[in-house]
Amino acid sequence: MTHLLNVTDLSVNIADKTLLSNISFQLTQGDYLCILGPNGAGKSTLLKTLMGIVETSSGKIKLNQHSLSQLSQKDLARQVSYVPQAHGHQLNFTVIDFIKMARYAYHSAFSDWSLNDQHALDHSISITDTEGFLYRQMSTLSGGETQRVMIAAALCQQSPLLLLDEPTSFLDPRHQVEVHQLIQELNQQHGISIIEVSHDLNHAAQHSKHILALKQGEVLWYGESSELLQDSHLHALYDQEFVFTTHPQTGAVVALPSERQAGEQQ
């Protein structure tokens, strides 16, 4: 099978600091990969490297057989889209303007809004269910609404690969479920390949197809999601004991961090 994304021996150093070293993995078309790992493991850096935001120091990233370094930023944007971690940065746009701006890669300085652009826009709005607040200012949206708009804008780029950096952190449980359902729908019904950075290991184990576990900038474990929930894997990854139980509704295995007894040494 041909790979959509092929990462070989990727390393990233910034100012004498090694953020990622010797990362290798592949992604097939339609895959759903979750990147897990403790804080500071390099998860976000890896996503940013794939999006061309952070430069690679050594190693190769191949996207559809093309080397990432040879693609122009516009070419890259037609192949990969990115939803950054929620940040405090105020966005002074209306929702519709913000989503429309995502068509940048398909335009030159004076080209008009085309029928294709309109299709992409309508499609991304209807999938993400954002019709209700198209003319509101971005700064007035709630966390869940903002995340849906960010995903809508990324979809409007019509790229086969979507990168998501902790899309559900800062959201309440209802909106977490909502955004996760949306991501699964994108993957299963619309065939979009997904790489998601997450801290939610139960979600990752149940819904993603593959998992890449990073620790201190290196790959600790890479494999099928169903094999993740074992004490040996999780303990090595988070330096934390886990207990396992089953979900009362679905019967799936669920991992919970074990409670430390008072006075017990780590």
Binding site: I53, K74, P84, H89, F93, Y104
Partner: protein
């Protein structure tokens, strides 16, 4: 109102200001002299004010968008003080030359601006790439450093030169003829064309570098080219009429409040409002204690400060 209609209204008002202002304060009754004053003194002065104001406003708008910071203007980043230092040294040295049709003063100011930019550049690039925060702080530090060097130059100069430098530092449009317009026009035209060409990129830059990059903008390349054209433009303006403050910070802000943040409309609006605003300020500066004239830089700051505060308070109370 739709942005395009707002823009149309702004255009009409600008045209009106452009047409009326040369006639204000004409007291001589002899038609021949009147004609001479209008065509040889007033008209070039009004045109020059429009071009300079438009250039300053556009450059301010670009800096605000690039650094996501309302305080980032060519002035706060040290570009204007670099240009001022160049011009002050030129006056102090007391020789005059022309190069490629450019007056020596322009050339010196221009060189000063470029030196300031290279300083800000090298230092901020040495530190962690190109973060807006480092750049802004570097700019402020360099601005202070150059300002003290200007004072030092003034201290060394004789009384006449020192006064000339001081007068020029206040920002003035008094000794303007068609020749000055021809000196300024190419720079401002080049800069405006580049900025109007890159309005979509500016929109995305305002959303943050990560988002801009992921949408396909070559952020570094765009930023370098914008930095280059704006310093050219500011260098030329500062050399010819001194550092006229506040326009670059204020006009784009006012325009954002009127027409919104979409640079496809904001850029032409800033251009028009910046130009007309400087004409109005200059008209006031020559009428208020006529026949004497106040330096226009004093007027822009006196008018601009309170107006800006008023707008700020108004928009805050609307949010609440």
């Amino acid at each position: 109102m739709k942005p395009i209609n707002t823009l149309l209204v702004i255009g009409l008002i600008s045209l009106l200001i452009l047409c009326i202002s040369p006639y204000l304060g004409l007291i001589i009754k002899d038609p021949a002299i009147e004609y001479h004053i209008l065509t040889q003194l007033r008209l070039p002065r009004v045109l020059f004010a429009f071009i300079a104001g438009a250039g300053l406003a556009l450059c301010g708008m670009v800096f605000q968008a690039m650094f996501h910071n309302p305080l980032a203007t060519p002035f706060t980043l040290g570009v204007a003080s670099g240009a001022s230092l160049g011009a002050a040294i030129y006056v102090y040295l007391g020789f005059s030359f022309t190069l490629l049709g450019l007056d020596g003063g322009t050339f010196a100011a221009f060189l000063g601006a470029l030196i300031a930019i290279s300083f800000v550049y090298t230092i901020s690039r040495y530190q962690n790439g190109f973060s807006p925060e480092t750049l802004l702080l570097t700019g402020v530090a360099i601005s202070f450093f150059f300002s003290s060097l200007i004072l030092f130059t003034q201290y060394l100069s004789n009384l006449t030169d020192s006064f000339q430098i001081l007068r020029w530092l206040m920002g003035s449009l008094t000794t303007v003829g068609y020749r000055d317009i021809m000196q300024l026009l190419p720079f401002v035209t080049l800069c405006s064309a580049a900025i109007l060409w890159l309005t979509r990129e500016l929109n995305l830059l305002m959303a943050g570098d990560d988002i801009a990059l992921s949408r396909g903008v070559s952020v570094q390349k765009i930023r370098y080219s914008l930095f280059f054209v704006t310093s050219l433009c500011v260098g030329a303006i500062v050399a010819l009429c001194g550092p006229i403050g506040f326009i670059g910070m204020m006009v784009p802000h006012i325009c954002r409040l009127i027409i919104g943040n979409d640079h496809r409309y904001l850029a032409p609006a800033s251009l028009l409002v910046g130009g007309s605003f400087l004409i109005v300020c200059d008209t006031i500066s020559r009428l208020i204690i006529a026949p004497a004239e106040i330096p226009v830089g004093v007027i822009t700051t006196l008018l601009g400060g309170p107006f800006f505060l008023w707008l700020l308070i108004k928009s805050k109370s609307k949010e609440a």
